[in-house]
Amino acid sequence: MRMTKPLVVAALLFPVGGGAWAQKNAAVQSIEEYRAMLQDGNPADLFEAKGEGLWTQKRGPKNASLEKCDLGKGPGVYKGVFVELPKYFADTGRVQDLESRLLTCMETLQGLDAAAIAKTPFGRGEQNNMTALATWIAAESKGMKFNLPQSHAQEKVFYQVGKRLFFQRGGPHDFSCASCHGEDDKRIRLQDLPNLTKNPGDGVGFAAWPAYRVSNGQMWGMQQRLNDCYRQQRFPYPGFGSDATIALGVYLGVNSQGSASAAPAIKR
């Protein structure tokens, strides 16, 4: 890292967070206690139950359930699929993540309008059903280790594209994903930031979403998580299930290889 003199001086006098740790006092500790308390009960359970119900419910113009949906391990299999997504699907000829794959099933099996659902804002209409379904499917792989396939050519290409997207600086603030998630042991305000350029460990980063967010009382899938990161980066709007979001998911998911999924997790 190149630094000019004044910055070097600052770095020497103030090793990272130096002033902070000395002051790791009651306020910080009470925040940690709050976070520990959150682990006692997770409202994600409610979304899980709703998602499980939606899987078997006959819906849409075709009045069909999702029970024949192929999420990667054959029609109807929902256990263990989450930790192997995103992956390549031969029928669509695309690499898909959980949510974009569910969208395919909602369209092909139930006759719902995939384009209209993709355009629906998060937290409204069918997007609420999408989040519930994703929460339940993810929960069916809780504790399992991530093992995204990298055997298909498109999966390899998407990893490389995802890596480029991760480091893409842009917008008025020049931010990339790596601005916040490129180094170990960094924080924004008091929020710890996982280093997502490598495996951040069990239940951290990619392995924690979908998650229930206590601060706004919302259940978020990975699509919404990535969307809000991009919003805060001052980037434009990434389309729901767009190739950019999926490639990024491949990069993060492959980096998490071997880590256990904690989804659905609970967040501050």
């Binding site: 050519a153 290409v157 919003r231």
Partner: protein
């Protein structure tokens, strides 16, 4: 959508390339595919236009360096820094320092320029997201160095004095365009990119350099 089919086609072509050889396609092809995917994936929303991703050479070379895992070579870094240094505009009337109390508010605020903000939102500096500044604020980030005692440790007793001039000008330049001093700095270019105006930057300057600011106690 047509746009999507075009990208799907280029992904297929790329995948065929991968299938044909033992390794992944060349980095130039992947860069192009990434660009195509970005174009097809992001859209205008609220006040944010998709065109904000058509970025400048500074971001392009720094992103590429990050992908490769190798920092810029010295020559490129110096060239990028020179380009950015040229953009720094001195404050109107030579007024480098404003009001540290206003500066603290700007440093606290992380608002503005997201697709959920409106055009009337007053942009914040996002400073505490990454830096320790006033010691009373314990909710600070650690992506940037601590700025507590910023003026004091640099011996700034009177910011208007000739002795203080180099550090005052450097600090102004660093906030206006961080990349003038470190080509691939993580820090936004607050003045150059229009995040903060000159008066706001002067207020943040006062927070860092005014001997009366709580930062320098």
């Amino acid at each position: 959508m047509k746009k999507h089919h075009k990208v799907a086609l280029s992904i297929l072509t790329m995948a065929a390339l991968v299938a044909g050889c033992a390794s992944v396609p060349g980095s130039a092809d992947l860069d192009k595919l990434t660009n195509d995917i970005v174009k097809a994936s992001f859209r205008d929303e609220g006040i944010v236009k998709a065109s904000v991703l058509d970025t400048d050479e500074t971001n392009r070379v720094c992103s590429a360096a990050d992908v490769s895992g190798k920092p810029l070579d010295d020559e490129t870094a110096k060239r990028i820094e020179a380009i950015n240094l040229q953009t720094v505009k001195a404050p109107p009337g030579g007024k480098y320092l404003g009001d540290w109390k206003e500066g603290e508010k700007i440093a606290q605020s992380g608002r503005g320029l997201t697709y959920t903000d409106d055009a009337k939102t007053v942009n914040g500096g996002n400073c505490y997201n990454c830096h320790q500044i006033d010691k009373k604020e314990i909710s600070f980030g650690t992506i940037g160095p601590s700025l507590y005692n910023y003026g004091k440790i640099r011996g700034v007793a009177n910011p208007a004095s000739p002795e203080a001039k180099p550090i005052v000008e450097y600090t102004w330049g660093k906030i206006w365009n961080s990349k003038a001093y470190n080509a691939c700095s993580n820090m936004p270019r607050a003045g150059h990119m229009g995040i903060l105006n000159a008066a706001q930057i002067a207020d943040v300057m006062a927070l860092l350099l005014d001997p009366k600011s709580p930062v320098n106690q």
